[in-house]
Amino acid sequence: MLVNRTIVLPAGLGSVWSALTDDRRLSLWFGAEVAIEGGRFLRGGSRAAFTWSDGRRRAAVVEALESQRLLVLRWLPFEQDAEGVTRPRDPSTIRFVLEPHLDGTRLRVTEDAPEHLDPRAELLAGTSAR
């Protein structure tokens, strides 16, 4: 886990949970238009399509879900551009952990770096190219 952010939101667990799992609310802040199968993340295996304003599309699947506690999304290893051309992307994972807090809800977000940033892979590639 490389990017790691924790914030306290002035709302209860239920409100924060719905902002993470309801596609209408998720689309308000995520930076992409989100369409979840059935409108909400309800269980592991739920799928969602994310569409950015530049037309780029990526799909994610719920890897783990515990209501009002934990949501883990895994990006599928490809994306589609506005012209519909599909190209590979390394999978990465976003993890949301919710906890009750005196002032509302504590939310911790972590995102794993994709594997292609593995510094040792880079080093090996450099060595073999010489």
Binding site: G12, G31, P119
Partner: protein, 106 residues
Amino acid sequence: MSSIDHVFTALSDPTRREVIERLSVTGGASATELSEQMTVSRQAIVKHLHALNDAGLVSTEPAGRQKRYRLTPKPMGQAMTWMTAVGAEWDNRLDALRRTITDDPA
């Protein structure tokens, strides 16, 4: 631990950061030279160099009976770029999330 975590774990230690700083200034050094410059035991320096090597941050070349260590800063650059970009993206998102929740607690 995901592989790129090695870079940040490697950089989390102040002695290893000093090793990196010295290698970047001198262009390369042996464990003995680093040990003398930093007044840290050679054994400890070797351990730190192994951690940096595992993270892909230094490479070695033979120099007589000793190994010479050099910086390979590219992985650090890529990892930092990734972390800065994705971190900024999350800062924006979480600001927007706070506004969403304040405006419409649901």
